[in-house]
Symmetry: none
Subunit: 220 residues, 2 copies
């Protein structure tokens, strides 16, 4: 149901940050600092996607990439350092579905992950909450048959909430996921929630609820 992502990255802060960001974005996540037991995890947990740092102690990302290709049909995204010897990389990047250059913004990584999963068909394209339908590919929102017109930002916000269906999402989390901000500007979220509610509630009861002190939830 929810896609699983395996992260192999030796740098602790990055590993943790990526892990948290992905799990906040609604994915099942496991992380490891190196390639130890990689095969076992692939076989038993069957991740849909693998994020591999290229520079790893022991076997590097390329070796693991090969393993992943041979023994699973998981997608692979490589994390490469900008200043690595370019020629070598160019040849070796071989086989990944995508790659992200470090340092990266978390929002971008999430977007790439989503893109690859969607390309692989592992992601639902229509999300449903009560009588609300959010079609991610068509960028369309319907409620009880009625088409609802949203701006780009409103749509991103709603789509994210719909993807986290039933779970409470904090304002800061929304800021990073929807706007790519990492600082606090909570009122911005409030303003957009307000607008979204006006449009949504023209066609039915409240779906987007406030959880005081924590954030918002989308549920019926």
């Amino acid at each position: 149901m929810t896609p699983r992502v395996l992260v192999v990255e030796d740098a602790e802060p990055i590993r943790t940050a990526v892990g948290i960001a992905l799990s906040e974005a609604g994915y099942g996540v496991r992380t490891r600092p190196d390639g130890e037991g990689f095969e076992r995890e692939l076989a038993s947990w069957r991740p849909d996607l693998v994020l591999l740092d290229v520079m790893l102690p022991g076997r590097d990302g390329f070796e693991l990439l090969t393993v992943a290709r041979e023994t699973s049909n998981a997608g692979v995204i490589l994390l490469t350092a900008r200043d690595a010897v370019d020629d070598r990389l160019h040849g070796l990047r071989t086989g990944a579905d995508d790659y992200v250059v470090k340092p990266f913004v978390l929002a971008e990584l999430i977007a790439r992950v989503e893109a690859v999963l969607r390309r692989m068909g592992r992601l639902r394209t229509v999300l449903t909450v009560g009588d609300l339908e959010v079609d991610v590919e068509a960028q369309a929102v319907r409620r009880g048959g009625e088409e609802i017109d949203l701006t780009a930002t409103e749509f991103k916000l709603l789509a994210f909430l719909a993807g986290r269906d039933g779970k409470v999402v904090g304002k800061t989390q929304l800021l990073t996921a929807v706007w790519g901000y990492d600082d606090y500007a909570d009122n911005l979220v409030e303003v957009y929630v307000s607008g979204l509610r006006r449009k949504l509630e023209a066609h039915g009861p409240r779906l987007l609820h406030t959880v005081r002190g924590s954030g918002y939830v989308l549920r019926s």
Copy 2:
């Protein structure tokens, strides 16, 4: 429903670019850097079309072509380098449904893929959106019986949008698919959309909608 395309190409940037372009064009895509596990993928995923680079590590494209012919009825397009020994190629090319010479423009590749799939009967030839009919083979457009006269570029644009029926298509995506550009020239798209609308809306309400911040959709 949506045709599946398997891409075997060792050069990373090309493979990724082709993969993304094809999936944006609405195909199901899988990519691999070499012939490893080719048979397995053929048998289990049953692609409608295979794109084979000729120069591959391990088994080359010709060998894979033979395998594909023997064990599947997928179409095959070869990707060949311009400077390869021509005669030899000429003889060996035999058996492929088409071939594309590198370096190629993405738009051209997409067009070839479409052509082969159409020849194989795996692609609809008349696309319908509301009361609009787009006949790809006859290059004709009708709306409510009325014939509408379009220029070549206008037609390509409309046909692409019609093929992605209901899905939002970004301007950049349109630029690469219709014009073969890879840089930004958004206004060009806008100008053509404008012209297309004038012609289309002479016979009925708006079908080609703007999705501000994202692109355009064709739907009723």
